[in-house]
Each structure stands twice: as structure tokens, then as C-alpha cells.
């Protein structure tokens, strides 16, 4: 018994020491561990031989790459990696190479803060993250404490960027809710609207709240507003039944596409065919493997990015992404890709160099973010206000013949 405990306590002390040591001198090894780092590693090596110590700008990324939200995190990881590789191949930021490290947070606030701290040990100078709203709210407290520049690709709740060091690429939740209600009302898509939302999710309930308020202003009648939770996200028949019974001619789905694909299937089984309208969370529904896209026919959604848009930037991005990762990029990947280019634009404007401290970079980036205008995949001429919100117009698309088609 005692022996066991001695061993265990020795192990405890050893592991603690190990962590502290690991934190001190592991930057060299972690750098190469970033996945899909083939090209990065090569360019990094080249950069390191030519320049002196610390000659790279270290950008960290955080998001869920395991766990139920992994799909979003992986998309962000891939999209941002693609941008980093491109930038490095074209000479980097102000001629300095980017070193990029993406860490997993399993969509959990505590783990996200851990990931942030481990990136700090690695020497991160700017943060591109986090992917999901809840963890982002926890991490933004820490970046504010450290005065580190933070740009979240997809953290959409208001509190994600409540400090002046934080900015975002995507729309905020209230913004989407209001835009959706306005769009439906202005285009007279429906008079009676039903909502099915995920009450255990910040994103979904945040949009629903503003949508309901704005719908009241615009004179839309909300005939049923039914919730589900992450634990009961298998069956939606009741919610659909209520929407049908209430005579809704449009169902608003401020949710992610995983659940939406089940809702569409169940509505089809029930023989209920209202118009469906969603937000950017629905983007990706056509990419669900083996999904019968006929079910999604006529679904409308507000999204800043459509993978089959015909402009050159999108086509180039989608081709490169498909080549590298074997699947079609979602809006998350596009947001992340833009995020890295936004950092590049602002860093060039601010004259960020590799040897600047975290705090100096942040102070330089803050005013620079307000001045830059970026043409990205998720919007042309994006600009930022001091509260960190982007200004860009959402595009409404309608799924026609299994592909997005722009709506007027």
C-alpha cells in the first residue's frame, strides 16, 4: 500500500516537473508537429537557416479537432493551414515566414484555456481562434490579460470579442438573426414562421432571440418556436408536427447542418413541405456524405461563403482545399482562410516584425485592423469597427438542383 503510494507520489512530482520542463524548451519540437506541415516545415527550415533567432512570426490556432464539434475545428485547421502555406510560399508577412501551430480544445472552455497556455509556452505572438463561441469567451479573458491580438474565425456570440484586442471574421449571432428576419420580411417569403432551434447551444439560441425580436418589428408572425437540446437531437417529429399544425409556411432553422439534415428527412417523411430558411450553420449540408440533396431543394440560407461560387478566389481556394484534404471546404474553412489573410494584411499595415513582443504586436494591430480592407472569400471589402465586428453583407443563397444559387 505504502509502496504503491510512494510510487504514485513520485510519479506525481515527476509528471509536474516534466510539464514545467516541457513548457520551457519544447518550442522546437512542437513546431514540426503541426499536422499537414510538410510544406511549412520545409519553408520554416529555410527561413531559420537564413535568419537569426526568432525570425518567424508565430501564430497559434485553437479549436475542437476531436469530440462532437470536431468538424468545425478541423475545417478551420485545414483552411488556415492552407493560407499559411500559401503566404509562406509567397514570402511571408513583410518577408517574414509564419510559424503556425493549431491546438485541440474539444469544444470545452477549460481545455481551450489550457490550449492557449500551451501555445503561449510555444511562443505564440497572435491568436487565430477560437473556433466555437463558449471556449472563445473564456479565452478572450486571457488574451485581454496578456494583451494578445486575437482574431476568431467563427466565434459568433457577442461576448467573444468584448475586449478591444479581439476581432472576428464571421457575423455575430444578433447580426444574423436580424438579417434573417429582415430578409424574410423584405422579400415576403412568408407570413407565418416557425422556428426550430437548439436551446442548449449559444449560437442557435442567440440567433433565435434576435430573430424573434426583429420579426415582431417587421410584422412576421411566429406561430411556433420549439427547442431541442444536444441530448434530444435525434428526433424532431414533434417540433415539425407543431410547425405544421400551426400552419407555418416557412421554418427557420438557426442550427447546424447535422441536425438540419435529419429535420429535412423527417419533414419529407411526414409529407410536410414548407420553405426552410437557415443561417451560416446550414452551410455544409450539401457536403454531408451520401445526403440526398433533393431533400434540401429549395432551402434558403444566409451564408457569407458558397463553395461553388464562380469567382477566381473561391475557385482557387476550393481546388486547393479539395486537393489537400479531399473534401469540399465549408464556410468555417473559408473563415479561417480569410482570418490568416486578414492577420497578414493588418500585420503588414502595422509593420509587425518577428522580434516584437506580444503586447507591442497587439497595440500595433489594433489600429491597423480599423484601417485595413480585405477582399476575402467571405466578403469583399471587409472592414472592422473598434468593437471588433466586421462589416460585410450576408449573401442569401437558395439550393437549386443540389447547388447554391444566389438570390436577389
Amino acid at each position: 500500500m505504502k509502496k504503491f503510494n510512494k510510487i504514485m507520489s513520485a510519479a506525481l512530482v515527476a509528471s509536474m516537473v516534466m510539464v514545467s520542463m516541457a513548457g520551457c524548451g519544447s518550442s522546437a519540437e512542437t513546431a514540426t508537429e503541426a499536422p499537414a506541415a510538410g510544406t511549412t516545415a520545409a519553408t520554416e527550415a529555410a527561413a531559420e537557416t537564413t535568419a537569426a533567432d526568432g525570425a518567424t512570426i508565430k501564430i497559434g490556432g485553437i479549436g475542437p479537432i476531436t469530440g462532437p464539434a470536431a468538424d468545425y475545428g478541423i475545417a478551420v485547421q485545414n483552411g488556415s493551414q492552407l493560407a499559411v502555406d500559401e503566404i509562406n510560399a509567397n514570402g511571408g508577412i513583410n518577408g517574414v515566414q509564419i510559424e503556425y501551430n493549431f491546438q485541440d480544445d474539444v469544444h470545452d472552455a477549460t481545455t481551450s484555456v489550457n490550449a492557449y497556455n500551451s501555445l503561449k509556452d510555444w511562443g505564440m505572438q497572435m491568436l487565430m481562434g477560437t473556433v466555437t463561441s463558449g471556449p472563445c469567451q473564456a479565452v478572450v479573458e486571457k488574451t485581454q490579460e496578456d494583451n494578445m491580438f486575437q482574431l476568431t474565425p467563427s466565434g459568433s456570440s457577442v461576448e467573444c470579442i468584448k475586449y478591444d484586442n479581439a476581432f472576428r471574421v464571421c457575423f455575430s449571432d444578433p447580426n444574423q438573426g436580424i438579417a434573417s428576419a429582415d430578409y424574410i420580411a423584405d422579400n415576403k417569403l412568408a407570413e407565418k414562421v416557425a422556428i426550430i432551434y437548439n436551446s442548449s447551444d449559444v449560437y442557435s439560441s442567440g440567433i433565435t432571440e434576435k430573430f424573434t425580436a426583429e420579426a415582431g418589428v417587421k410584422g412576421l408572425e411566429i406561430v411556433s418556436s420549439e427547442a431541442f437540446t444536444a441530448d434530444s437531437a435525434t428526433d424532431f417529429s414533434v417540433q415539425l408536427q407543431k410547425a405544421q399544425a400551426a400552419g407555418a409556411d416557412l421554418v427557420f432553422l438557426p442550427i447546424y447542418y447535422t441536425e438540419a439534415s435529419i429535420i429535412l428527412t423527417q419533414a419529407n417523411t411526414m409529407g410536410y413541405a414548407p420553405a426552410f430558411f437557415g443561417c451560416d450553420g446550414l452551410d455544409g449540408i450539401l457536403g454531408v456524405e451520401n445526403f440526398d440533396t433533393a431533400l434540401a431543394e429549395g432551402v434558403m440560407l444566409l451564408t457569407p461563403f458558397a463553395a461553388d461560387a464562380k469567382d477566381d478566389a473561391t475557385v482557387a481556394f476550393v481546388t486547393a482545399y479539395e486537393e489537400a484534404y479531399g473534401k469540399t471546404p465549408s464556410q468555417f474553412a473559408a473563415d479561417a482562410y480569410d482570418a490568416i489573410y486578414i492577420i497578414k494584411a493588418a500585420a503588414e499595415k502595422a509593420g509587425v516584425t518577428a522580434d516584437m513582443s506580444v503586447s507591442d504586436i497587439c497595440e500595433a494591430m489594433k489600429p491597423a485592423m480599423l484601417e485595413v480592407s480585405v477582399d476575402g472569400l467571405t466578403g469583399a471589402g471587409m472592414t472592422w469597427s473598434a468593437d471588433g465586428e466586421p462589416s460585410k453583407a450576408p449573401k442569401a443563397v437558395k439550393i437549386t438542383d443540389g447547388a447554391y444559387a444566389a438570390m436577389e
Binding site: A70, A233, D235, V238, T258, T265, T269, G271, N290
Partner: protein, 294 residues
């Protein structure tokens, strides 16, 4: 009319829970362990069938059969490698924790192989939906098949346990392992057989779950797994008809809770009913009352 619609939906959801609960209750009743990995075996069953029928284009029936075989083997292997060494452990909790480890393992292997992107499962059921009351109530083909499967499996299992040697051995093992061994029953073999049957049922449950709710991710099995576990307890641990009734009741309560009380609090309602039932009847609806010997 809406009442009937909700009832139909409740039974449809409940029969999915029931079919998972049947596999759960087998393992739980006989090996006396909470197999937390059961939900993930369901997911594996779903993915196997998906890979064969949707990706490789084989006929659905092949997919179903292969996935049953695959899950049966998987169940036996898991039992042999992870559970059997711990069966005689001082605390029954040891094997429970290992089961959690197995559950994480299966989820993460699936995540690495299939990725996190949800897959849309093509239903293996081709029976058309039935429309009643001039189309006001629709019963889907999946619901009918699931319910029939459920009843068939329940009857089959009951007959198997009561009429065959292997089944009787299972009963004996569940009562008293030591005594069963003394009577010449191969305890290890019997428990392995239990896992084989339980995991085979999990494969069927996985295919039917995904046919009814066609979204497949590495985490698909975990929540239905928990709900089915609750259903198994609800009906009385180890009781085969209990698992089925428990599952269907759970589904009906969930749907009615959503429909008539609050869709946000559906889970709280389900669990409250469970607590009330257990407080009134502490061994579940069909549970046996075991007299304590002093």
C-alpha cells in the same frame, strides 16, 4: 388527431430505444456490468453498414449481415481483451471504467477513419409509409420494421433463454457464477456468448437507428446508448420484455413531454418520470424483487 400522431411518433422513437435496450439488458443482466461501450458498438454497426451499402454500393442486406457479423466479433474481442481480465476484480467499477475507455477508443478510431463530417445514412428499409385517417397520420416504414424487429427479437431472446441449454446457462451464470461453474457450466463461454448476442443486436439497432434518424457521426451512439440504458433500468434490469416496454415508454414520454409540456425540458421530464417510477417500484417495472438473506 395530434394525440395519435404524437403517440405514433413516440412509439417509433421508443422502438429504437427498445431495440438498443434489448442488447443492453442482455449484457447487463447476465454479465452484471454496465457496458458503456454498447452505444459505440451501435455506431460501429452503423458505419459498417454505411461503408458497405452506401460507399461500396453492395445491396443493403449484405451490409446489414456483415455489420452484424462484424459487431459480434468486435463484441467478443472487446470482452476477451478488456473485460474478462477484470471480471474477478475486487470492485465491479473496474470493468465499468474500462468500458468507458473502450467507448472513447471506439469513438476516436471512428473519428480517425471516417472523419467528423456527418454521413447521411441511406435507409435500408424499403417498405412504404402507411397513411391513416386520410393522410393525417403517417407511420413510416422504418418505424414498422423497427417495431417488428423489436418484437421478434424479444420473443426470440425469451425463447432462447428459456428453451435452450445456452440460455439456461446464461440464467444460471446471472444468478450465481460460482455455483454455475460447479454445475459444469462454461462461465467464460457463456458470457462471451452473451456479448456476442448483445453486440449482434447492437448492429441491428445501429442500422435501424441510422435508418430512422439518418445522420451518422462517431458520436451517434452515445446519447441513444444512455437513453437505452435508462430504458433498460426503467423496465427492470435483466428483464427482456421489460427492456422493450421500458424503451417504448421512454420514447412515448419523451415525445409527449416535448409536445405537451416543454420541448426545452424534455430530458428533465424523462428523467423525472424515471425517478418517480423507481421510487415507487425500486426494481423497475418488470424487475424481480430479490429477497435479502440475513
Amino acid at each position: 388527431m395530434s394525440f395519435i400522431t404524437y403517440l405514433v411518433q413516440g412509439v417509433s422513437l421508443g422502438s429504437v430505444y427498445a431495440i438498443i435496450a434489448l442488447g443492453y439488458t442482455m449484457v447487463y443482466g447476465i454479465a452484471k456490468m454496465l457496458n458503456f461501450a454498447h452505444g459505440d458498438v451501435i455506431m460501429v454497426g452503423g458505419f459498417t453498414c454505411f461503408t458497405l451499402s452506401s460507399s461500396m454500393g453492395l445491396p443493403p442486406i449484405v451490409g446489414v449481415l456483415v455489420s452484424i457479423v462484424f459487431c459480434t466479433i468486435l463484441g467478443v474481442v472487446i470482452e476477451r481483451v478488456a473485460y474478462r481480465p477484470l471480471r474477478e476484480a475486487a470492485s465491479p467499477l473496474a470493468v465499468l471504467i474500462t468500458a468507458i475507455g473502450v467507448s472513447y477508443l471506439l469513438q476516436n478510431v471512428a473519428l480517425l477513419i471516417f472523419g467528423s463530417n456527418p454521413k447521411s445514412f441511406t435507409s435500408v428499409v424499403t417498405i412504404p409509409a402507411i397513411k391513416l385517417f386520410e393522410g393525417q397520420v403517417t407511420i413510416s416504414g422504418e418505424a414498422i420494421v423497427t417495431l417488428i424487429c423489436c418484437v421478434v427479437i424479444m420473443i426470440g431472446l425469451t425463447l432462447f433463454i428459456n428453451k435452450t441449454k445456452g440460455g439456461q446457462a446464461m440464467l444460471a451464470v446471472s444468478e450465481d457464477k460460482g455455483a454455475a461453474q460447479l454445475m459444469g457450466i462454461n462461465v467464460n463461454g457463456t458470457i462471451a456468448l452473451t456479448f456476442a448476442i448483445g453486440s449482434g443486436l447492437a448492429a441491428i439497432a445501429g442500422v435501424l437507428l441510422c435508418s430512422t434518424y439518418p445522420s451518422l457521426t462517431p458520436y451517434t451512439g452515445s446519447m441513444p446508448g444512455i437513453k437505452a440504458f435508462v430504458a433498460a433500468v426503467f423496465g427492470g434490469i435483466g428483464s427482456i420484455p421489460g427492456a422493450m416496454i421500458g424503451g417504448i415508454l421512454l420514447g412515448v414520454i419523451e415525445i409527449f413531454g416535448k409536445a405537451y409540456i416543454s420541448s426545452q425540458m424534455a430530458d428533465a421530464i424523462v428523467f423525472s418520470v424515471l425517478i418517480i417510477v423507481l421510487l415507487v417500484k425500486p426494481t423497475g417495472i418488470f424487475g424481480k424483487k430479490i429477497q435479502e438473506k440475513v
